[in-house]
C-alpha cells in the first residue's frame, strides 16, 4: 500500500503537450478517478505512473520512492488495460499466474493464489481456456485477476470497463469498487464515463486538455463545479447553460438573458461584483434544480416540445426563443408536449464568460 504523488507532471509528444503541470496526491488506500474526454491526458498520466511513458518534466512518487527512472517492473504497480492485453497464447490460468512466475513464486503457492483469485472473480471455469475463447466479461475479469494476484502497492485501471456491455459494466464497476475497498489498495482509475467516475471514486480528478480542472469528492464535483467545463462534463443529463449578464433591477441583482430573468442572491451578487466585474456570465443549472408550475405566473415561461421518459424519471425538453433546457421530472408527470410552464430556478451556478471559472 502506498500513496501516489504526482508533482508538476508534464508530458510532450513531439510538440503536443499531453499533460501540463499536473499535481495530484492519491492518498494511501484511496480510489481516485481520472475523468475527462478523450485526449485530455488522463491515460498519459496513468502510463507515466506505470512507467510506460517517461515524463518530460516533473516527478512521480510511489510511497517514498521517486519512480521516474524505474522500469515498470520495478514499480510494483499493476495495470489493467482497456484492451485487457491478455496473453493470447496462454490459458487464463497462465495469464493470471504470469506475474507470480516472474517473481519466482513457488508452484503450489501460484496454484493456490490463482485459484483463490479466480474464485473471488467467478472465473474458475475459464482457467483452462485461452482468453480468445472467453467472453468479454470473462476476459475483463481475467485481466483483473492478473492485476490482483500480485498484491501490488497500486492498481492502475485504464478504462477497464469500456469494452463490455452496459449491463455488465454497471455490475463490474460496483465489483471493482468492492474489491478495492476490501483489498485496501490505492487505485487510480481512468475513465471518460462520468457515471463510472461518480459511482466509484473517493476522489475525482477532472482533466481537460492536459490540465487538472478540479479535484474533489464526487459530491463536490457535482455540486460545486470549479468551472464550466467540469459542470458540463459531469452529470448524466448535462447541466443547462443560460448565457446572459448580471444587472440591477429594483435594487436587486438579477441574471438577465434573452429568455429569462433570474434573481440572484445578495451574497452571490457580491461575489460576482468582486470576481467578474463585467457581469457577463453564464448561468448553469442542473436539470433537477429547475422547478415548474402549470400556473401562469412570472415571466420565466417556456414551452415543452419533447418528453423523454426514462422509466424512473422523465426529462422534459423545454424551449424558449432558441434556448433549450432539460428539466428532470417524475416518471408520472402530467406535463404534455405543448404545455407552457412557469419555471423557477432553485440552485444554480454562475460562470465567468471570460475565464469559465465558477463565481462563488
Amino acid at each position: 500500500m502506498a500513496e501516489v504523488r504526482i508533482e508538476g507532471l508534464t508530458k510532450y509528444f513531439g510538440d503536443t503537450c499531453a499533460v501540463n503541470q499536473l499535481n495530484l496526491l492519491v492518498r494511501d488506500g484511496d480510489l481516485v478517478v481520472l475523468l475527462g474526454p478523450s485526449g485530455c491526458g488522463k491515460t498519459t498520466t496513468m502510463r507515466c505512473v506505470a512507467g510506460l511513458e517517461r515524463p518530460t518534466y516533473g516527478d512521480i512518487y510511489i510511497g517514498d520512492r521517486r519512480v521516474n527512472d524505474l522500469e515498470p517492473r520495478e514499480r510494483d504497480v499493476a495495470l489493467v488495460f482497456q484492451s485487457y492485453a491478455l496473453y493470447p497464447h496462454f490459458t487464463a490460468f497462465d495469464n493470471i499466474a504470469y506475474p507470480l512466475r516472474l517473481r519466482k513464486t513457488p508452484k503450489d503457492e501460484i496454484e493456490r493464489r490463482v485459484r483463490d483469485v479466480a474464485e473471488m472473480l467467478g472465473i474458475t471455469h475459464t482457467l483452462e481456456r485461452p482468453p480468445g475463447l472467453c467472453s468479454g466479461g470473462e476476459q475483463q475479469r481475467i485481466a483483473l485477476g492478473r492485476a490482483i494476484v500480485r498484491e501490488p502497492v497500486v492498481f492502475l485501471m485504464d478504462e477497464p470497463l469500456s469494452n463490455i456491455d452496459a449491463l455488465l459494466r454497471v455490475y463490474m464497476r460496483a465489483e471493482i469498487k468492492r474489491l478495492q475497498h476490501e483489498l485496501g489498495t490505492t487505485m487510480i482509475y481512468v475513465t471518460h464515463d462520468q457515471v463510472e467516475g461518480m459511482t466509484m471514486a473517493d476522489q475525482i480528478a477532472v482533466m481537460n486538455q492536459g490540465t487538472l480542472q478540479q479535484l474533489g469528492t464526487p459530491s463536490e464535483i457535482y455540486d460545486l463545479p470549479a468551472n464550466n467545463f467540469v459542470a458540463r462534463f459531469v452529470g448524466s443529463t448535462p447541466m443547462n447553460f443560460i448565457p446572459g449578464a448580471l444587472q440591477k433591477e429594483n435594487g436587486k441583482t438579477v441574471h438577465k438573458s434573452d429568455q429569462f430573468v433570474i434573481p440572484v442572491s445578495a451574497e452571490m451578487a457580491d461575489r460576482a461584483a468582486e470576481l467578474c466585474p463585467s457581469g457577463i456570465c453564464t448561468l448553469g443549472v442542473r436539470p433537477e434544480e429547475i422547478r415548474y408550475t402549470m400556473e401562469d405566473e412570472g415571466s420565466n415561461q417556456a414551452k415543452v416540445f419533447l418528453l423523454e421518459p426514462l422509466g424512473s424519471e422523465t426529462i422534459l425538453d423545454i424551449e424558449k426563443e432558441g434556448l433549450l433546457l432539460k428539466v428532470k421530472d417524475v416518471a408520472s408527470t402530467q406535463v404534455r408536449v405543448g404545455d407552457v410552464l412557469s419555471l423557477s430556478f432553485n440552485r444554480f451556478h454562475l460562470f465567468d464568460d471570460e475565464t469559465g471559472t465558477a463565481i462563488r
Binding site: A50, G51, L52, E71, P72, R73, V77, A78, L79, F81, S83, A85, L86, Y87, P88, H89, Y98, P99, L102, R103, R113, D116, V117, E119, M120, L121, G122, H125, T126, P130, P131, G132, L133, S135, G137, E138, R146, I148, V149, R150, E151, L168, Y171, E175, L179, E182, L183
Partner: protein
C-alpha cells in the same frame, strides 16, 4: 489474499450454453449445391481446380511412371529404386543436401530473426528502406549470386580473403577443398535465403500486439523474458513456415553449385539437385534420376511434416 467472497455468475455470462441450434449441415457438397449461387461458384472454380490438379498431380504420376520403367521403356518395377540404395554417389549427394539443410536452416533463421528484430525495433527509422535493401539477395538469381560469390572467393582477387591476407595469413582456396567448399556454399545460401526468413519473421513480429509487451513489462518481465514468453510463441507459426521454406530452398539449390563448384572438387559438393541434373542430362538416365527425384520429394515432405508438427502450434484466436 484476504478476500474470499465469491461472485455468482452473471446471466448470459460464463457457462450458459445455447439450447436450440439449427441442425448441422449434411455435408459440404450437398451444402455447396443447395443454392443457385453456390452452383455458379463451383462452376467458376472448376477450371482453376482442374489446372491445379493437372500441374500438381500429373508430373508426380508421370514421375512414378518413369521410375517404374527403364530408359528403353520396359517395365522394371522397383529396380531403379533398389539401384539407388546401392549408389554411393547418390548417398553422398543425399548426405550433402541434408548437411546443407542442417547448417543453412538454423543460420538463416538466426540471421533472419536478428534482422527482423533490428528492423522492427524503434531505432530502425525508415523501415521501408531497410526492407528494400535487405531483400535484394532474394531478387538476385541463383546463378548470378553464385557467380558473384565465386569472384569473392577467388584466392587472390576475392574480397573474402582480403582480411586474411591483411592479417598475414595464407589466403584460403575456398572452392577447391571439400570442407571449405561446403562452408563457402553454405555461406552463399545463407546470404541468398536469409532475407526470406527475415521477411516472414518481420511480418510475424508486426502481428504481435504492442500492448502485451506493455502488460508483460508491468507484470515484471525483462525485455529478454518478454522476448521468450511473448515474441517467440507468437511468431512460432511464422517460424514454422520460414523453416520449411528455407529448408526447401537450401536443399534443392542447383544454381549456386553450378556457378561456384560444379559439384567439385571431385564429387564433394554434389547435392541431390546436382545429382538429378547430372543423371538426367549428362548421363542421360532420366528414368533412374526420377527415382532420386522421388527420394528428394519424400525427404522434403517428411521434413516439412516434422516442422509443422513440432513448430506450428496453433495460436488461440484473440
Amino acid at each position: 489474499m484476504t478476500v474470499q467472497q465469491t461472485v455468482s455468475p452473471l446471466p448470459g455470462q460464463g457457462t450458459d450454453s445455447v439450447t436450440s441450434q439449427p441442425p448441422p449441415p449434411e455435408g459440404m457438397w450437398s451444402e455447396l449445391f443447395r443454392y443457385r449461387d453456390n452452383r455458379l461458384g463451383v462452376l467458376l472454380i472448376v477450371p482453376s481446380l482442374l489446372t491445379l490438379v493437372l500441374i500438381q498431380f500429373y508430373p508426380i504420376v508421370y514421375n512414378i511412371w518413369l521410375i517404374l520403367t527403364s530408359e528403353k521403356g520396359e517395365w522394371i518395377g522397383l529396380d531403379n529404386l533398389s539401384r539407388l540404395t546401392r549408389d554411393t554417389i547418390f548417398h553422398g549427394a543425399l548426405i550433402f543436401s541434408l548437411k546443407m539443410g542442417i547448417v543453412v536452416v538454423p543460420m538463416c533463421l538466426l540471421v533472419g530473426l536478428g534482422l527482423a528484430l533490428l528492423v522492427h525495433s524503434e531505432y530502425a527509422g525508415r523501415k521501408a528502406i531497410w526492407i528494400s535493401i535487405l531483400i535484394i539477395p532474394l531478387m538476385v538469381s541463383e546463378i548470378v549470386a553464385g557467380m558473384m560469390w565465386k569472384i569473392m572467393y577467388h584466392p587472390t582477387l576475392g574480397l573474402v580473403n582480403v582480411p586474411l591476407v591483411a592479417l598475414g595469413l595464407e589466403p584460403i582456396i575456398w572452392l577447391q577443398k571439400a570442407d571449405t567448399a561446403f562452408i563457402a556454399i553454405c555461406v552463399v545460401e545463407v546470404w541468398r535465403i536469409s532475407p526470406l526468413a527475415f521477411l516472414l519473421l518481420y511480418a510475424g513480429l508486426n502481428q504481435v500486439p504492442r500492448d502485451i509487451y506493455e502488460a508483460a513489462a508491468v507484470d515484471g518481465a525483462t525485455r529478454w523474458r518478454a522476448f521468450w514468453d511473448m515474441t517467440l510463441p507468437y511468431i512460432r507459426p511464422m517460424f514454422a513456415i520460414a523453416t520449411i521454406l528455407v529448408f526447401v530452398w537450401s536443399t534443392r539449390t542447383i544454381g549456386t553449385i553450378a556457378a561456384t563448384t560444379q559439384g567439385g572438387p571431385g564429387r564433394a559438393t554434389w547435392n541431390l539437385s546436382w545429382y538429378i541434373y547430372g543423371m538426367s542430362f549428362q548421363r542421360l538416365k532420366p528414368h533412374y534420376a526420377s527415382a532420386a527425384v522421388l527420394v528428394m520429394l519424400l525427404m522434403t515432405y517428411i521434413a516439412g511434416t516434422l516442422f509443422v508438427r513440432y513448430l506450428w502450434v496453433e495460436r488461440s484466436s484473440r
